[in-house]
Amino acid sequence: MAKTITQEFTKGLWKEIPPFRLVLGLCPVLGVTTTMENGIGMGLATTFVLLCSNILVSSLRNIIPPKVRIACFIIIIATFVIVVELVMQAYAYRLFLKLGLFIPLIVVNCIVLGRAEAFASKNGLLPSMADGLGIGIGFTLSLASLGAIREVLGTGTFYGASVFGPSFQPFTFMIQAPGAFVCLGLMLCIMNLFEN
């Protein structure tokens, strides 16, 4: 049971990497990963919220009465989400425009509430931070890789820079809704393939 802080951190990077291992929090995964930049932005925003809420939940875990704990967690998470929203509006407005609707929805991202409830409310500050950071970075990596694949195939660019040159006919399907599903499904498949 006694896992080290490092283990708590690294499990989020492969063993429990969302959304591949923990099939959760798919909405932003599918919704915003049209480009790598969006993926990273969303991932970092989620990481920030995850880290902050884990810290706060973990430090307040003995004060919060169990019957209203969900409401309390939601307040904590929602607060940080709004912080992200405001800060992003003020200093990264272009990103905010693209991520738009999905920022407020970090509140209802199962991963964030799930980690708060399943981990932070039962563990000390340091492990909770490690857990939040690990899962958050894992989530960011997934979003970034999915975003990268969709961006390269769908618009022919990588992080904004053209890859195939002007003659490339973009595979537009990839950056639309159906492409998101198919791409994630196939990535999951490839992960399974490597696993076995």
């Binding site: 049971m1 099939v23 959760l24 209203v68 704990r69 969900i70 509430l113 799930g114 399943a118």
Partner: protein, 697 residues
Amino acid sequence: MLTALLFMLGLGATCGLMLSVASKVFYVYEDPRIAEVESFMAAANCAGCGYTGCSAAAVAVVAGEAPPSVCVVADAEAAANIAAVMGVDPGTAEPLLSYNTCTGGDRAADKYYYMGINSCQALATLYGGKHECPVGCLGLGDCVRACVFDALKIGPHGYPVVDEMKCVGCGACEKVCPKDIMEIKTMSQKLLHLNQYDDRIAPCQQTCPAEIDIPRYICQIKNGDYEGAVNTIRERNPLMLSCGRVCPHPCEDKCRRGIEDEAVSINQLKRFVADYEMNSGRHLPVSVAPSTGKKVAVIGGGPAGLSCAFFLRRLGHDVTIFDAMPKLGGMIRYGIPEYRLPKEVLAWETDGILNIGIEHKPNVMLGRDFDIGSLVASGYDAVFLGIGAWKDYTLGVEGENLGGCYTGIIFLTNFALWQQEDGARDRQPFVGNKCVVIGGGNTAIDCVRTLIRLGAEEVSIVYRRTRKEMPANEVEIVAAEHEGVKFTFLAAPTRVIGDEEGNVTGLEYLKMELGEPDASGRRRPVPIEGSETIMEIDMLITAIGQGPDVFFKDESKRLDKDLNLTRWDTIDCEDPVALQSSIPYIFTGGDSATGADLVVSAIGAGRRAARSIHLYITGEEITPPDKTLFTNNIPVSIFDSVEGIEKSARTKMPELPVEDRIKSFVEADLVISEEEALYESDRCLQCCLTCYNKDVA
């Protein structure tokens, strides 16, 4: 800034107040385990588990529908915590493991040949799969693919094998199996299951009134897992030491090997493991579900009552046994003589049953010391009436109340009391020189064999039909013959003759001949006119059958008058499986419901009644499923001939030599050796519904 502060303050306060008030005002009682289980889930309400939110999943876990590992967000530790909430004392709880209920595999015959399908789900939709057997494993391994713990693989015989070290009881395999082969059941669910027409069970298990999983425990014996075998038997029969000694084993009559060869000696194997446990000196731990807080009164501490109490306790209810006799066991203590079932053995067995937390109130009799009304008033939620059949039928002929005349039960009970109870030592039973016992059942045989051991010079049985029609166990009749009992068949007593002092001196009977078969299929004996014969005797015991003693019905004032009886004085229950009497909270089973019958039938009835009581007090429907088998046989499983059998001799039961045993009450039948047990268990064909292991390929 201030508005925001105030707004959030108001919002927080409103929500907090609303919820806390609502949780008081709209309080509904809920199993406290639900909240406890839910607290270990991730509360993300993500529905990733397939249930609609965490509380729905928690409800499902508590109801036993979902495994503790249901939450996809929470980690293994949470699953362990949930399991702890659901389990019992972790020391005694059996782990929730996946269990493969079909071991047919490759040996099952094929009906169709399919090409290219590699999923059980797909195969099952095409005419139910490739095998002749309608319920067997399809062997394409959907379960193996579903298992994320790598605990399943398709074994060498073409069916899934569970690696118990890796299995966590998550239930993924159970969910995908289209034939419901893989089973993850809580102990309570297993205890409540009744044999059904669509079960994968061998003919022996179908026939056993207690529904013991016979092939499984024989297989466990074969593998040297004697404790496992004990646990398997104990899921259905808490009195295995007693049954192992006295059961007439109807299962062996249906043994498939018996069709071509001699049947497997199933009961000897049961006795072997039961004795193994007793000789080990400790009772194996028995898992008990968490307490439900419901109270049940079991009236009668005989096999039916003990079985009912045992299973109710394992289901988590508080049980009290009220018994009229000083010690537990009922008819198997006071009716079955010491040489068949030593009291020491029985005491060890009943101690084991009481040990799981059952209260025993001895020397209290229904109708004399308490009545049903007083039980209801003391807060019992249901009552089990297991009062047995303690009242002998009478011959209805002149002179049967003369001195030296006894009824079978009274004779055996008095003798047993004298033999075992300190307080009854001065009432030594009367033993004649020329003794006659009327009747052909086990009670009659018990009487004659007891009389022989008590030193009676001449002991004979008078029975109005022939030896073939005698209802007593064959082994018992043979033993009585060996011990020197004389038999007078086709003789109907007409008069008991006495002397001036009122003591019996003779028995007059009519000779009979066999006529047309009656409703029971036995040829009806017809008296031969003018064939009266007189037999000289000085002691007469009538053991021609017993019925329940229902005197309490007249004694008690209110509730008992609604209790319907049949014309044989047995307690009337509409459904022989549900065993509910005309008063909804009163259940019955065993001899009090059927009239005198086998011990193993009473044990089976005790479990069925426990099931009904459990469902009744938890507010569920008690009507048994339509598919309930209830000692009938599944037609496809009964064969006329069995291929591939190589004859092998059945293990003989070791016995004390006749000259030794007729002098004492030392147990006459002995246990088989470990070597013999291993040999005998190897004779088992490990049958299932239609397939079995052939001796020769």
